[in-house]
């Protein structure tokens, strides 16, 4: 059967959930072959085999961490030559998209980014994407080369299926262009909350939160639901919450099961980042706020009374 290359997103050997979703999607097209690069590559084999990887290609060269993007492209080019896959699937993270893009040029292939679904088609995999702030659904495919497709987190269920997971060392010849050197890397302090793009529930605050200290109200709700915390651009630009938590066109695009927007008016730039959420809830004082056009359930009211009451109610029910 045809093989599909799945590029594994992991942190020191801990495989992140979006990769397991890719393995589900890959099986619709062929047999998944996982490629794992960087420190801890060998530690991923068990979980990849439990999720359908028939083969696992590993390389733990230092260079992947020392330089930006390019060494990984060198490695994937080698993997494509070894496997001759029918498609290459990559998680739609900032780095994933860049690695995919350089690889696509290198191997003379078209690229599709930010797919939210993937299925087998008569002339190769067909990807579904959202366009123009999710007001359109677009179906497209790659017409030249090996399709390189990046897939957004939360696009498919994780389905365990046991496969052989035969481990092979990937031999990489690094090219002349090394890429940008990483002089230092400062890990982000762990919040203890789920990663924003991967979370099943996201609770976001906007201009109406009115101050960095007031984000505690948003965080308390998030923690009662085991959710990630997001922020609108207005809240980020005001310095109330870090840019890494920004939801919207210039921040993260999220597609959780539940999105709760508090004190967010719902400008087009914000909607671009959250409109594909399955269920949308909003709390806002302004009954005319455009966010209410999107909601499954909206409360017109003061977030500083509604949100704490909601949090209290959730905690009481959990208790």
């Amino acid at each position: 059967m045809a093989e599909v290359l799945v590029v594994v997103d992991h942190v020191d050997g801990a495989v992140r959930k979006p990769t397991l979703e890719l393995l589900t999607l890959a099986r619709r097209i062929g047999d998944p072959v996982a490629v794992v690069l960087g420190a801890g590559a060998a530690d991923t084999v068990g979980v990849l085999a439990e999720h359908g990887a028939v083969r696992v290609l590993t390389s733990s060269e230092q260079r992947f961490a020392e330089y930006l993007v390019v060494p990984k492209v060198d490695a994937l080019q080698a993997a494509v030559a070894v496997v001759e896959p029918v498609a290459v699937l990559v998680v739609s993270s900032a780095e994933g998209k860049e690695v995919a893009a350089r690889l696509a040029v290198r191997i003379g292939s078209g690229i599709i980014t930010d797919a939210v679904d993937l299925e087998a088609g008569e002339s190769g995999p067909v990807a579904t994407q959202s366009a123009f702030a999710a007001s359109f659904s677009v179906k497209s495919r790659v017409s030249r080369g090996v399709p390189v497709i990046t897939v957004k987190p939360n696009s498919a269920p994780v389905e365990p299926v046991v496969a052989a997971g035969a481990v092979e060392e990937l031999v990489v010849e690094f090219g002349a262009v090394a890429g940008a050197k990483v002089l230092s890397r400062t890990p982000r302090a762990a919040s203890g909350r789920p990663e924003l793009t991967e979370a099943a529930i996201v609770v976001s605050g906007g201009r109406g939160v009115n101050g960095a200290e007031n984000f505690a109200v948003i965080e308390a709700l998030a923690d009662s639901l085991g959710a990630a915390v997001g922020a609108s651009r207005a809240a980020v630009d005001a310095g109330w919450y870090p840019h890494t938590n920004q939801v919207g066109q210039t921040g993260k695009s999220v597609s959780p099961q539940l999105y709760i927007a508090s004190g967010i008016s719902g400008a087009i730039q914000h909607r671009a980042g959250m409109q594909t959420s399955k269920t949308i809830v909003a709390v806002n004082k302004d009954a005319e706020a455009p966010i209410f056009e999107l909601v499954d359930y909206g409360v017109v009211g003061d977030l500083f009374t509604v949100v704490p009451q909601l949090t209290e109610e959730i905690n009481a029910r959990k208790g």
């Binding site: 930006l68 702030a133 940008a180 890494t244 949100v307 909601l310």
Partner: protein, 261 residues
Amino acid sequence: MSLRIVVCVKYVPDASGERGFADDLTVDREDVDGLLSELDEYAVEQALRIADAADGAEVTVVTVGPGDAKDALRKALSMGADRAVHVEDDSLHGSDVMGTSLVLAKAVERTGFDLVICGMASTDGTMGVLPAVLAERLGVAQVTLLSQVAVAGGTVTGRRDGDAASEELEAPLPAVVSVTDQSGEARYPSFKGIMAAKKKPVEALDLDDLGIGADEVGLAGAWTVVDAAVARPARTAGTIVKDEGEGGRRLAEFLVGQKFI
């Protein structure tokens, strides 16, 4: 020697208008006003700041697009860029990122460059991969998604704030840089800048000038095919309640009903 900075900019449909697709499934440019992509303003801004700090520099803005795309170049020139290059050719209609990047790479090579600066993504296609594709085509390092950038002594340095970590990066020139909306507020064109922009040179190029065949770009030369673009059905109107003291509890009931609690 003078630092040659090239900024790649895009003319995009205004996001506050009704954006859509034409019959050939390319972006409809007829029914909605265009403008310089907001995220490219940050690239122009950083180019101008780097040029100001350099001992002699020239900032060239390049765009690929139809006649109207000159508006995007004019905006960048009025902000302070020195000159502009406009690649316009009927065969370019419907180009995907591979076609567009080919044209940009040829145009940038023709102009000559030490540093290419791009925005983090366009506000219409929003792929965010063009800077990486361009770097690959030009055979240089990418120093991308920077919230801070500086050039000194033939080296570009910058900070990239990723999900897991913040990285300090460094690469020798020539290189391709992309900057985020955290890199620094873009300046407004002054009246003087707007007047001066009218006298700045805008070089017009077509595919022949760049040695690119019509079959390498446009819809026919695209490496991807759009089979369908369907407007999402409007969301069915949700329940909206006014808080009269029980808003939070009623919302909790809704979430219980949806099995989130």
